[in-house]
Symmetry: C2
Subunit: 326 residues, 2 copies
């Protein structure tokens, strides 16, 4: 399978790393909006091209992995490129998925292409686990916890505060909440009871630390509904101790089974990831394999992880997966 990456940030680089681990996948091109001469990639012999040239390579790419932001990039890019390529993205604005799906579906179907949106881990693997668990346990409650991990959006919000030079925010599930859910107690949890937020902040010299701390803790939507801790550290400490982009989380379905709902059944799925973008990229590459196959079978239009039979993700044959993984 011949892949191309559009957008070479953390996610695009993650796709490049994932391709290296999949022997049946070849990276053909990296497309960028920047001057290609300024973009240095990891793989020898792979050309970096400006996105303006992308249509010249149409026939040499099985699936285009679009690595853009969900706020403004993907809503435009995925429908646009679905006209010319089989495409896959990691669109993660949950509320706008129906609209994005409809736009991509229309473009892909009209041009005989296959697309998959919202691959990754949430949406993605977490969604899959919510769906499977809801189908198996119709009577139950869902719980999703995120972290411990870096929230890019919250880190950006901190950095926009006057007097803040740099900063990083970790989202952390509350251990007591996890414990209660895991024990089948079906607790009703407020926002505050589910997660805490921990901030590591590098302040500008002479900045008013008390004011910064207060601005963070009272910031609407981002922090005001959470118990938030703020640590002021040096730039060196931030670089040394907080350079990574770890993330993860937990999806639970806590259900009742039995004639009188007398028995509990708890399904738990969790991820612990040193690198959020590299894991997301690994999911994208596995689903790119499925999209390539489906297109070759004549299936077109937009799909999500819900529509893909798991066998399509594997480089192994049906006989092999039945013999070794079932």
């Amino acid at each position: 399978m011949k892949l191309a990456i559009l957008g070479y940030g953390n996610l695009g680089k993650g796709v490049e790393c994932a391709v290296k681990q999949n022997k049946d996948v070849e990276l053909k091109y990296v497309f960028t909006r920047r001057d290609p001469a300024t973009v240095k990639i990891l793989t020898d012999g792979v050309a970096v091209k400006n996105v303006s040239e992308i249509l010249n390579y149409k026939d040499d790419i099985d699936v285009l992995i679009i690595c853009g932001g969900s706020a403004t990039d993907l809503p435009k890019m995925t429908p646009e490129y679905a006209q010319y390529f089989n495409v896959i993205d990691s669109f993660d604005t949950h509320a706008r998925i129906p609209e994005h799906f409809a736009n991509v579906d229309k473009a892909a179907k009209a041009n005989g292409h296959t697309a998959l949106i919202s691959a990754g881990w949430d949406p993605g693997m977490f969604s899959l686990n919510r769906l499977y668990a809801n189908c198996i346990l119709p009577d139950g409650n869902d719980y999703t916890f995120w972290g411990k991990g870096v929230s890019q959006g919250h880190s950006d919000a901190i950095r926009r505060i006057d007097g803040v030079k740099d900063g990083k925010q970790y989202t952390i599930p509350v251990p007591e909440a996890l414990k209660a859910v895991r024990a089948g107690e079906n607790p009703t949890l407020t926002t505050r009871q589910k997660h805490t937020r921990e901030c590591f902040v590098v302040a500008e010299e002479g900045a008013d630390l008390a004011r910064i701390e207060k601005e963070i803790k009272t910031m609407p939507n981002y922090f005001d509904e959470y118990d938030t801790t703020v640590h002021f550290i040096t730039e060196e400490e931030l670089k040394r101790d907080h350079a990574g982009i770890p993330h993860g989380g937990f999806v639970f379905r806590s259900g009742s089974i039995g004639w009188n709902k007398e028995n509990k059944a708890i399904i738990e799925y969790s991820l612990k990831l040193d690198s959020n973008p590299e894991f997301t990229a690994s999911v994208l590459v596995a689903y790119a394999r499925a999209i390539d196959r489906l297109n070759k079978e004549g299936v077109t239009g937009c799909k999500t992880v819900f529509d893909i039979a798991p066998a399509y993700l594997s480089p192994l044959s049906g006989d092999e997966i039945r013999a070794h993984l079932l």
Copy 2:
């Protein structure tokens, strides 16, 4: 969807309970090898019939759920009934899955039916998680732990010992092993290091307890490779404290991501089930929905959980699951 159950033991009764939770599913018949007059079921208005009459009801059943044992029942029954019905079973002899699959596939295809074998949790949900995780993290190690839960096979083995009146065996994952895997240490674990076995035994009056304990602990294949604890208890204690059939377990994929495999990614899926057969039955009913739909779409032959797109398990529409679960 109209279902019928063939075989009314713990699993068949579990299917009956699961049907009650699924509003789009109707239980039409329970078929038994026993005298139907002696089989009392939970659902009002559902007929119990002898299996000899089953073909008379062929046109009134969308999917037949075959609740038999994997050792001798299912290898015969599933291919036989796949000639006349869409069928689903929970065949769990991992080593014989390829052979069972081929037999069921032949019978189902020749007669335009759709079948699914080996649904449940292992094989079943655990297999799915092994497959997904292997596709996402090609570089990594798999770990499966079972328990804490009752092993029917090991409990039966205890009960066959001379001087044993009754008994129950629990399989328990070793906490240190779970901890090491969860921490990404990728340990190499022997059989003994993964699980311990705990037995609760009711001895016949005057039996030689020391001999029974020794026979259990040294029993080849079942106990000799494990650290086993034996507790002698009264019949009343067994009934009071060990009447349930709980089970569960953990599936891990501990992988490496990044250009130089410098980052860890750990995927963990776990189940904690008060009732093993009721949960297995809940999985069977969800997959029966998929089989019914696939058959109506003209897809025939034998499938496994690997071949079923998750959306087929849900009573909700594609729009609904994208809006609420993705």
